[in-house]
Each structure stands twice: as structure tokens, then as C-alpha cells.
Amino acid sequence: MWRGMNDTEPSDTENMKAMKPKNDNNIDRRSFLKRMGAGAAIATAAMTGCDTKNVTPSADGSLAQSDIPNDKMTYRTNPKTGDKVSILGYGCMRWPTKKTGDGENDEVIDQDEVNRLVDTAIEHGVNYFDTSPAYCKGESEHATGIALSRHPRDKYFIATKLSNFAPETWSRKASIDMYHNSLRELRTDYIDYMLLHAIGMGDDAMDAFNKRYIDNGILDFLVAEREAGRIRNLGFSYHGDIRVFDLMLSQHDKYKWDFVQIQLNYLDWRHAKAVNPRNTDAEYLYGELVKRGIPAVIMEPLLGGRLSKVHDHIVARLKQREPTRSVASWAFRYAGTHPGVLTVLSGMTYMEHLLDNLRSFCPLKPLTEEEMSFLYETADLMIQYPTVPCNDCKYCMPCPYGIDIPAILTHYNKCVNQGNVPESRQADNYREARRAFLVGYDRSVPRLRQADHCIGCNQCAPHCPQSIEIPRVLHRINDFVEKLKQGTV
């Protein structure tokens, strides 16, 4: 239908704007996977023509933007609407910022840069943009709206969420206002993909879900909006309590979820429980969706960078297999390889992120069975490193007592991956590691925002999509810092 798309299912593309709820959930599993995966299969066949053989790396070994084909994006088909969705979706949670002053909070989204990123993405066939009223301190929708409105509305799909986390927004009116504001900020009169945001989170997830969407009738409202055509697809994103997920799917007949957004990556496929017993393996989540023929939108394919900033040993392992591909590309190709996946979201802050991902997806070269098991083995190795599963999403922020939680956890993970968390004073690199840890700590986190100031009020933990017990982890890290400082490791 538009440039760069693999016309895999012409009959469906015509139905793109068909809003009538069809009996889509009757698709049996095999035909569902077939339809979803058709694009990928054809793309693979076509790919041989434009693989690295034909693309010459520039002098410094990296691939310049011009070397990325802009007509080879792999697309997946939405079985209900026939939307041809690019396998790479743009996550709008991590837009680049620029300083406006000297204050710590004097930062705004760098709109020029956002426009440039969006233009490049669209030019290369990316057509799914995922935002939320909560992202980027509430500025993401506005910035995304500006950037997208410079392109024809039928060139892209907008996904946003009803992010009524705060109790003040639980009322019917406040929630509906939030939805209408999203339309306004995004400069559109319909939303392609609307999500209930992060259900399953909070101390009492079921209670929170009921208060946010059921008691105030908001879910029914959204279903009605779908009937009216102002919402083309209705789904939900899920983190945390599995009972809420199961409940939602058990009501599929009633609500007819058009898609579901889940966290999927080669670490979470089988090791989600190792990170936190509350979490659920992606293998289960994905399997449940495929069973019902519901397309999966993938978030955290890279775990907020944790699958690219890995331990040196893991880097070596991956690079030996694919010396010219980035570490991150493995994670993206892994997520995209699953045929039930509609799109893989990536929050690309820098042009380099975008270009690297475009390289992975223009077109997607699915992983082989052997490569998949290689990644699972890699995941087994990875969980031996005691990193904290923080994806730097900043949902926990701002801490009312000024702690920079993600910065502390990111620094700790960096030191773990670089081997700078000495286990004893007898360790070979004790002195260097101690210096790197402590000096780096002061650099990454201002003293007043370090873990020793965490009072354990626990206001952050319920917001964490990864269910990290933040105060406990911060206190543990601070104990380690104390031992390093006192030389009693």
C-alpha cells in the first residue's frame, strides 16, 4: 500500500480501515501464525539480495545510514485490520532531551532531534509509534504528536495508553479527560492502538486494576470508542501479577483484545522468575497469546539496554558468532523471530540506536533453531552475573527524598558487567575495581542522591514494572559501598 511494504496479503490491506468488529478471534493457531509470519518469511527470502554482501561498510567499519535499504523493512500483518505493521516499532519513552538551564530539572525534549529521528524511521519504513501520557515527564505525546503530524496520517500507526496510575486519575471523568488529551496532544481524531497501561502492577494488582478500569467503567468506555471507530485496536500492556493477565485473557470473548503488549526477550523467556518470583516467563505469556490468536507487541526486547550492556564475556561470546553485528541486534532479532509478534518496540534515543535497529530489521533475518538455543545458553550464563533488573524506565522517579534510583542501579550493573564489584580484598583487581566503583559512583550519582540517603519509605517499589524491591536493593548496594570505603569487603 505504501512504499517499502511487503505486499504479502493484498486482500487484508484493503481492509485496513474496516472498523467493524469481526469474528477475528476464531482464527485457529496455525493460520494465525501463518498470517502473522508470512511477511517475515518472504522478507527472509528477499533478504539474500541485500545482505552485507551488497552493502559495503564505510571506512570505519560501521554502516552509514545510506547503506541501510529503505525498502526492505519486514512487516507483520494485523489479522483483524490487516494493518501492515513494521516489525520495528518506535518506543517513545526515551526521547532525547536538551538542557534549558543550570537546574537539575531544566531539561526539555529536543524536538528537532525527535523530528529527525521520526523522519529517518518513517523513511526506512517504521510505522508503529508507541507513546503514553506518562512518558518523558508527561511530554512524550506532545513531542511525538508534533513529529508525526508532519507526515500523512495514513503513513503510521499511533499507539498510546490510558496511564491512569495516580489515584487522582481513577475517576471516570479524569480518565476520559486523559484519553481526550491524548488525542489532542497527538493531533489526531483516532488512535490506532489503545492500551490499558501496565496492568498487574502495584501492591494489590487486582484491586488497582479494578479501580483504574472496571469500577469507573473506563474499559466499557474504551470498547465503545472502538465501536465508534475512534480506537481501531484495543489491548493492554502487562507487567507483574500473573492473575491479572490470566483474568484479562479469560475475558477475551467479552473484550476481544486486538493485541497485547508483553515483555519478551531471551532472558525473560525462561528466567523471569530468577529475577523476581513475581514475574512470569515470557514463554508462558507469549504461548497464551498465540493460543488465542492475539498478536503480541513486544516491549523491553533489550531490557532497557541490559541486553546490550552485558558482561565482557557475553560480548565476546556473541561477537564470535556475528562479528559485524551489534550485541543488541541479537536481542531484536530474537524478539522478531517469534511469528506471533506484531512489532518489537525499541526506545531509541540516539540516531545510532535507530540505525542499528534498522540494520537488524531491514529486513529481519530470523534466528535459526540453533541460534535460538545459543541465546538461551547465553541467558543461562547471563543470570549468573548479579545485575539488578533495572531497565532505566524511570517509573520509580521522582523519589520524594531525591534519590536517583535508576542512576544508582545502572552504575551498579555497569560495575558488575565490567568486573568492578570485588568480592574480597584478595581479589586480583581489588584496588582498581574499588577505585572504579567509588569514583564512578560519585560521577554517576551526586552524593546527595546516592543510596545512603534511601530511607526505605518504599514509595518507589509499587511503580517498578520489573518488581524490583528497590529499597532493599539500594540498602544492599549501600552496604557494599560502605564496605568498599572502609576496606572491609
Partner: protein, 495 residues
């Protein structure tokens, strides 16, 4: 040759002592800390008999070489005087002036009275090493710190851990002003007339001058060779050579050897003395610059303190108010100081401990009775258990050396809880940060309503176990005033 040796040694001492105040890593202090300990007045205050005996012996042998080599304030004046002598016209521009013994002995008397009465601030003002320390710590250290931070920024951009950032802050505007005024006054005197300060005001100079009259080696004018050209006198920064009468005032001669090198006739030589020279008891007009110096010291200008800028970070961050120091009835002084009185009686206010403190705890006091002497406060950090930096460096015996083990049992104060500020009561959240970080285990969290275990937990301080380190005060989330603060003890105790 002698002059070159003097200059080389003086530079070694001067640079090393300056580094004691600038170095942020603490390495210099570990290696060169002895250079502070051989300073005269600190050694007096520390009753360091070995050092004093050695200094007296050196002076009796060689004259006031202490003043031209070991004393950093003396060497600083030589450096400034050298700059003032640049250019042909200025090279030999000094002239003989008579001694002003009544000022010198008045200053010495004042010092003795101040020491006897334990008026630390006057002792601190009169100590030449302390004066230099204040200049180095207040005026040079910030420049060094900024330069270091520049390097740290470069290192950071290269992913190197070679340099790290340090906080640059003015600890106390009064002491800063005193240091600045001292520097300006002494610099003017030195630029114009060389060693005026050393030979009119400095009580250490007076004591050593009295001794050096009897020194074995001294510069002597050979009248048989002397043509009376007066070049030596015009070169003498101590203004102590009376060329007309071929006499040298040995109480003021700092044994710099400039005259020996400058004499075209080779008429001056450094050799054992033969005969006692007569002193000239001349009392002439008061040096006006001296007066300006003294009045200058009294000026307390409120310079705008540089607020330490906090580092900027991404993301939504709650604003953190700077902590404010509570009004403490009794000031806190660091462990090893034994108590307020011991510190006041020994400290010469050199700021070496302030420079050495890596936790931003020590700063010069603003109280009149202990002006410029160190005091602890916990807005920027607390007295960490692994640190004994101040006690390691103190040259005056004001903060006596302690070990880490000893430190953990020295009680310098005790924590006081302030109910109105306590976060569990004010914000209704769990806290316990004071208890969590107390190295002495002196704080227990107890229910605020007796018997009701679900009521908010508040800290209960066991004053007997508390050592007053300030971890609780520093890490208390209540701002700007902490909900728990340390009240000092006049005399430290061992628990």
C-alpha cells in the same frame, strides 16, 4: 653556592608544604606530613621537645635558616620580593633600617600571654606557619580544586579513573577574609621591603633572632676588603646590614646569603663569628604598612560564600534543599582533640586538618574564642569510621594521633532527636535511616506510641553508645534541619 643550596631547599619545603594543603588524595600528607610537624610554633604547642631542640640547635649553629628554608610564609615573602625586584632598576633597591625591638617583643609577649591564657585565636593570628596554611587552604586550594575538577572532567570523558571530582567550597568567610587580608598585607610588605613582617611582627622570627645572635656560623663583613659601596645593604631584604658601619643585625638576618653573592669584593663570608656585634637600640617611626596590616585583620567582611553547585542529572528529580547547621550549644571538635580546651590551647589555626578532611566535616570556627580553629559540622558529610586524616596531620598536637579502633570508641558528642522534623511523624513514611547508618549501633527504632507496634517508628538514642560521628545527622532525610543532630561534648570520653 650557599645561596643556591638555600633556594633549592627552600623550594622543596615550600612546594611540599603547599601540597600538604592542596592535595586531595592524601598521599602527600602520608609522606610529607613531617614537614608540618617541624614548624616552630606548632612544635611549641605540641611540646615536641625533639623538634624544638633540633630547631634551636640549627639556629645556634647556622642562624635563622629556619626562616629562609623551613617557614613557608618566609619563603612566600622571598618569592614575592623576588618578583618585586624584577628589572635592573629594582635589583638592589632595599636599604638598611633600624630594628624595632619594642614591637617585636610586644608581639612575642602577646603570643606568650595568649598561649598561657589559651586564647587560640590570637595564637593562630601570630603563627607564621598558620598564616601560610590559611592562605594555602583558603586561596590556593580552591584554584587547585577547580583545576583538579577540570582534569576529572577530562578523565571522565576518557573513561579514566585517574582523577576524580572534589567539592570546592569556602568553609568559613571570616577565615577566608583573614587569609586574603593577610596575603595582601604581607605581599605588599614583601614586594616593597622584603622581610618586614618577619622582622617586626613574627614572634617566631623574634625568638629565633634572639638565638641567632649567638649562632656559630654567620655572615661576617671583612672590613679590610669592604669598599663601603653599600651594595650588600641594598640587596638585603631583611634590611639588617648597616654598610656604613660594617655591621649586621643578626637578630634580623635570615641567612639568605644574598649579600655574599652580591658583594663584588668578596668581603662577606659565612664563617664562625669572632666577636659579638653590638645591637643598635634604635626606635624609629612605626611602619605604617604594619598598622594597615593589623587593622586589616580586624576587618570582617562578609564575602558571599560560593555555594557548591550540585551536579546536574537527567530525569525527574526532587529538589534537595541544602542542609543547614543546627545551633549547637557546645561545638563539636574531632576525635583526638580530647576536648574544646585541649584544642584551643594547642591549635595554631593552620587549617591543615581542614584541608585534610575528606568528608567536608571540618571547617574553621567563627566563634571568637576559637577563631580559625577547626570545628566539626555534618551538613556535607560525617566523621567516617575509617578516617583519621586530621589526627594524622596535626602538627601542633591539638588533634592527637588516634587509630581507627580508638576512634570507634571516642565519644565527641551525642545525638539529639528533634521530634518536629522527624520524617515518620511528619510525612507518615517508614524511615530509620539514622539507625541504619549508626556505626555505633546507638539508635533503635521504637514505636512512637508506646505499646502500639503499628505506630510510626522513631529513633531512640542510647547516648552512652553514641560517639557523635554525625552519620545520623548527615543522612537524615529532613531538610534543611535534620531531625537528629549532634551536640558536642566539652571533653571527649572513651566508651
Amino acid at each position: 653556592m650557599l645561596r643556591k643550596i638555600r633556594i633549592a631547599l627552600a623550594l622543596v619545603f615550600f612546594i611540599s608544604i603547599t601540597m600538604l594543603f592542596l592535595d586531595i588524595t592524601g598521599c602527600t600528607r602520608a609522606w610529607l606530613g613531617w614537614m608540618a610537624k617541624i614548624q616552630f610554633l606548632p612544635a611549641v604547642m605540641a611540646l615536641n621537645a625533639v623538634v624544638l631542640a633540633a630547631l634551636v640547635a640549627i639556629t645556634l649553629l647556622f642562624g635563622r635558616v629556619y626562616c629562609s628554608v623551613i617557614c613557608p610564609l618566609g619563603v612566600m615573602q622571598d618569592i614575592i620580593a623576588r618578583m618585586g625586584r624584577r628589572g635592573k632598576k629594582n635589583r638592589n633597591r632595599y636599604s638598611y633600617s633600624p630594628s624595632l625591638p619594642w614591637i617585636r617583643y610586644a608581639m612575642l609577649g602577646l603570643l606568650i600571654v595568649a598561649i598561657a591564657a589559651g586564647i587560640g585565636s590570637i595564637v593562630a593570628l601570630l603563627d607564621p606557619y598558620g598564616a601560610y596554611g590559611r592562605i594555602a587552604q583558603n586561596l590556593l586550594a580552591p584554584i587547585y580544586g577547580w583545576f583538579n575538577n577540570l582534569l576529572a572532567k577530562l578523565a571522565e570523558s576518557r573513561d579514566s579513573y585517574l582523577f576524580y571530582r572534589t567539592d570546592v567550597w569556602i568553609r568559613n568567610s571570616v577565615t577566608f577574609t583573614i587569609a586574603a587580608v593577610t596575603l595582601v598585607a604581607i605581599a605588599i610588605l614583601a614586594w616593597r621591603n622584603g622581610r618586614t613582617y618577619c622582622n617586626t611582627i613574627c614572634p617566631v622570627g623574634t625568638v629565633l633572632g634572639a638565638l641567632s645572635r649567638f649562632s656559630w656560623l654567620k655572615p661576617v663583613i671583612d672590613t679590610s676588603k669592604c669598599t663601603g659601596c653599600g651594595l650588600c645593604a641594598r640587596r638585603c631584604k631583611a634590611a639588617c646590614i648597616n654598610a656604613k658601619e660594617h655591621r649586621i643585625d643578626y637578630t634580623r638576618c635570615v641567612t639568605c646569603f644574598d649579600c655574599i653573592d652580591n658583594c663584588h669584593q668578596g668581603a662577606i663570608s659565612y664563617r664562625p663569628r669572632r666577636k659579638e656585634e653590638k645591637q643598635e637600640p634604635d626606635v624609629s617611626a612605626t611602619d605604617t604598612s604594619r598598622r594597615s596590616f593589623l587593622t586589616g585583620i580586624g576587618v570582617i567582611a562578609a564575602t558571599a560564600a560560593l555555594n557548591a553547585k550540585s551536579v546536574k542529572v537527567d530525569g525527574g528529580l526532587a529538589v534537595i534543599l541544602d542542609k543547614k547547621a543546627p545551633r549547637r550549644v557546645t561545638p563539636i571538635v574531632p576525635p583526638g582533640a580530647q576536648g574544646l580546651r585541649h584544642l584551643a590551647e594547642h591549635c595554631t589555626g593552620c587549617q591543615l586538618c581542614v584541608a585534610a578532611c575528606p568528608n567536608g566535616v571540618l571547617r574553621p570556627s567563627t566563634r571568637l574564642e576559637s577563631l580559625m580553629q577547626p570545628e566539626s559540622s555534618y551538613e556535607r558529610g560525617y566523621c567516617r569510621p575509617e578516617c583519621t586524616a586530621c589526627s594524622d596531620v596535626c602538627p601542633a598536637g591539638a588533634i592527637l594521633p588516634i587509630t581507627r579502633a580508638e576512634k570507634s570508641s571516642i565519644q565527641i558528642g551525642h545525638a539529639v532527636w528533634v521530634m518536629e522534623n522527624c520524617v515518620p511523624l511528619a510525612d507518615g513514611v517508614e524511615c530509620g535511616n539514622c539507625a541504619r547508618h549508626c556505626p555505633a549501633g546507638a539508635i533503635t527504632m521504637v514505636p512512637s506510641e508506646p505499646g502500639n507496634d503499628s505506630s510510626p517508628k522513631i529513633p531512640a538514642v542510647n547516648e552512652e553508645r553514641c560517639i557523635g560521628c554525625g552519620a545520623c545527622e548527615n543522612l537524615c532525610p529532613a531538610r534543611p534541619f535534620s531531625a537528629i543532630y549532634v551536640e558536642g561534648h566539652e571533653r571527649h570520653r572513651t566508651i
